[in-house]
C-alpha cells in the first residue's frame, strides 16, 4: 500500500497466439486422414463453415455482449446474394461472393444503426425481427429467390473451371476429389476466420469491444464511441456470416429459405454459448458438437428430439460457461 516495496514494473506481455493456431492447423490437416468416406468430408465442410460463422458471431455475442437472434439473415443474404449475382448478372462466383459480402456489410450497417442502441433482450428481439423479415422476403419474392422451394446455385468456379463435389482433380500430381478440394476451402476459411478473430480480440479495438460487455459507461468515459464500436462488430460478424453463407451455397448447390430461419439463428447462438462465450476455440468445438449430435442420433428415430434436447440441457447445466472455458478451468484447478 503506502509503503509499497519499490519494484521494477513487472514484465507484462500479451498471451501468445501461435500455440492455439498451430493446434488448429494440425487438426485441420489431420482430419482428412480420418475421413472414411465422402459423407464424412461433407460433414466436416459444413462444420467448418458453420464454425466460421460462429467465430464471427462470437465477436458480437461473446466479446461485445450484444445478442443477435437474427444472424441467419446475414448468412442467407450471403448465400442468396452471391447465387443471384452469379445467375442474374453473370458475375463469376468469387467476385460475386465478395460483392455479396460488401452488400451485407452495407445492409448490416444500415439496420444496425437504429437497433444497436437497444439493450439486452430488446436487442435480441429486434434482431429476431430483422431475421424474420429477411426470411419472409426470401419466401415471398419467389420470382427471384425461388420462394419456399429453394434456389439452385451454380457451382464455384475459378477461371472458368467448375468445382464439382463429384469431380476429381489433378493437383501437384495428386488426384484429389472435388469433395477434398472443398474441404480445403472450408478449412482454409475457418482457419482465416480464427486468425482474424484472434487478431481483433487482442487489439485495442477488441479491448474496447469487451469493455462494452463489461461496462458500457466505463467504455464511454474512456472515450469509446460505444455506438460506433457496436456497429462495427455487428458489421464484421455479418460479413463472416455472409462469406460462409456464400460458400455454403456454392458447395451445396441448393439453398432454401430455411437457412434464414429463426431456428437457424437459434442454432448459431446455441453454438456460441455451448462452446463458450468469448472463447474462439470453444465455439469451434460448439459447432462440431451441435452438428455431430444429430448424426449420432439418427439411429434413435423417434427419440432423436428427446435425446438432443436432453444432451443440450445436460451440457449447459454441467458446463454453464460452455465447453472450453469450463474444461480449461477444471484443468487449471487440477494442475498443481
Amino acid at each position: 500500500m503506502s509503503e509499497a516495496i519499490p519494484q521494477s514494473p513487472p514484465r507484462v506481455r500479451a498471451t501468445a497466439k501461435w500455440p492455439g493456431l498451430t493446434v488448429l492447423a494440425v487438426v485441420l490437416l489431420v482430419l482428412p486422414f480420418l475421413a472414411g468416406n465422402d459423407y464424412h468430408y461433407d460433414l466436416m465442410i459444413k462444420i467448418a463453415l458453420t464454425a466460421g460463422v460462429a467465430v464471427g458471431l462470437n465477436l458480437l455475442v461473446g466479446y461485445a455482449g450484444q445478442i443477435s437472434l437474427g444472424h441467419a439473415a446475414f448468412y442467407a443474404a450471403g448465400a442468396y446474394g452471391s447465387a443471384l449475382l452469379v445467375s442474374h448478372y453473370e458475375i463469376t462466383p468469387v467476385p460475386a461472393m465478395l460483392l455479396a459480402a460488401v452488400g451485407v456489410a452495407v445492409l448490416a450497417w444500415l439496420v444496425g444503426r437504429p437497433i444497436l442502441h437497444l439493450k439486452g433482450h430488446y436487442l435480441s428481439m429486434a434482431t429476431l425481427g430483422l431475421g424474420v423479415i429477411a426470411a419472409i422476403v426470401i419466401n415471398n419474392e419467389d420470382q427471384l429467390t425461388g420462394g419456399p422451394d429453394g434456389l439452385t446455385v451454380a457451382p464455384l468456379s475459378v477461371f472458368g473451371h467448375e468445382l464439382s463435389v463429384f469431380g476429381s482433380y489433378q493437383l501437384f500430381g495428386l488426384t484429389i476429389s472435388g469433395t477434398q478440394v472443398w474441404y480445403g476451402i472450408a478449412a482454409g476459411f475457418l482457419f482465416l476466420s480464427v486468425v482474424f478473430a484472434l487478431n481483433l480480440i487482442d487489439s485495442p479495438l477488441g479491448r474496447a469491444l469487451r469493455a462494452l460487455h463489461g461496462s458500457e459507461i466505463a467504455a464511454q468515459v474512456a472515450g469509446v464511441d460505444t455506438a460506433k464500436f457496436k456497429l462495427r462488430v455487428f458489421v464484421i460478424s455479418a460479413v463472416y456470416a455472409s462469406l460462409a453463407g456464400s460458400l455454403y451455397g456454392y458447395y451445396g448447390g441448393f439453398i432454401t429459405p430455411n437457412i434464414a430461419s429463426f431456428t437457424h439463428s437459434i442454432e448459431l447462438i446455441t453454438i456460441v454459448v455451448l462452446g463458450g462465450m468469448a472463447s474462439t476455440y470453444g465455439v469451434i468445438l460448439g459447432a462440431v458438437i451441435l452438428l455431430l449430435i444429430p448424426q449420432f442420433l439418427t439411429g434413435f428415430q423417434e427419440l432423436e428430439m428427446v435425446l438432443f434436447g436432453a444432451i443440450l440441457m445436460a451440457v449447459m447445466i454441467f458446463m454453464p460457461r460452455g465447453l472450453v472455458p469450463t474444461l480449461a478451468r477444471r484443468f487449471q484447478k487440477e494442475a498443481p
Binding site: 500500500m1 478451468r329 487449471q332 484447478k333
Partner: protein
C-alpha cells in the same frame, strides 16, 4: 462485558477461497451475546469474505459456523436470516428497480406476518427522514449515501439478533456517520449483538467492546477496542499518521 459463557456466534477453523486462491486461512472468531465487535484490516484482507461466510453466501472449505448453539453449516443464507443473522452488505446492494419503501418492506420479509411491521417502517422513516421523502423513488435513483442509509434501514427492519455491518459509514456525510455510530450505540444498548467491519477504524474500535485485526486471511491481533487503538502496529497500519 460478556467475555465468557457460550458465544452467540462461534467460528472455528474457517477456511474458504475463490477458485484456487484461499482468502481465509482457518480463522477462529467468537462473539458473545450483546457484544459489539469490530473487524479491521486492509483492502483485500478478507473482511467481506468473512461476513459472507457468516451469512452463508460464501461456501466453506473447512471449519464450522455455530450460532446460538446450532451448527449452521448446512443452513442456506435465507434460513440464517430467519434465525436473526442480518447483514448490511458491502456496496449497499439495494434493489435498484424497486421503490425505497418496497426495499424497506423486503427488509422485514423474514417477519412479514408480524403486526408491527408498519410501525417499524414509520420509525425507520423518522430515523432517516430523507427515505420518507424519497419513498416512492426507485432505490437505484438514490444518491450513494442515501442508498447506504436505505441498506442500513432495510437491515434494521428485520429486527436482527446478530447484525453484520460491512462498512456502514461508507459514502456518508460526516453528520450521518455520527448518526450511524449513534444508531450502533443505541442498538448495542438494546442488547443486539453487532459485528462491524469499518475502515473508519478509530471510530469503530472506540465504540466496540472488542476488535479483531485481519491481515491477508489471518487474524493477527485481537483484544479490547482500547488496547487495539493504542497498539502501535495497528496504529501504523490502519489509523494513519
Amino acid at each position: 462485558m460478556a467475555g465468557s459463557g457460550t458465544p452467540l456466534l462461534d467460528l472455528k477453523g474457517i477456511r474458504t477461497g475463490y477458485g484456487r486462491i484461499e482468502a481465509l486461512h482457518g480463522l477462529d472468531v467468537a462473539i458473545h451475546p450483546g457484544e459489539t465487535v469490530a473487524l479491521v484490516g486492509a483492502n483485500g484482507a478478507g473482511k467481506s469474505t468473512l461476513l459472507k461466510v457468516i451469512s452463508g453466501l460464501q461456501p466453506l472449505t473447512a471449519g464450522t459456523v455455530t450460532f446460538d448453539g446450532e451448527d449452521l453449516n448446512r443452513r442456506k443464507a435465507a434460513d440464517r436470516v430467519h434465525r436473526g443473522i442480518i447483514q448490511v452488505p458491502e456496496g449497499r446492494q439495494v434493489f435498484a428497480g424497486l421503490s425505497v419503501e418496497d426495499n424497506l418492506m423486503l427488509g422485514a420479509f423474514s417477519r412479514r406476518r408480524d403486526k408491527d411491521v408498519a410501525d417499524n417502517l414509520e420509525a425507520m422513516y423518522q430515523r432517516f427522514p430523507i427515505l420518507k421523502e424519497k419513498r416512492r423513488l426507485h432505490a437505484g435513483n438514490l444518491s450513494g449515501g442515501q442508498q447506504q442509509m436505505l441498506a442500513m434501514g432495510r437491515a434494521l427492519m428485520a429486527k436482527p439478533r446478530l447484525l453484520l455491518l460491512d462498512e456502514p459509514s461508507m459514502g456518508l456525510a460526516p453528520l450521518i456517520i455520527e448518526e450511524i455510530f449513534g444508531i450502533i450505540t443505541e442498538l448495542k444498548r438494546e442488547g443486539i449483538t453487532i459485528f462491524v467491519v469499518e475502515q473508519n477504524a478509530s471510530e469503530a474500535l472506540a465504540i466496540a467492546d472488542r476488535g479483531y485485526v485481519l491481515e491477508t486471511g489471518d487474524i493477527v491481533a485481537t483484544g479490547s477496542g482500547e488496547t487495539l487503538l493504542n497498539d502501535d502496529s495497528v496504529k501504523a497500519a490502519y489509523l494513519g499518521g
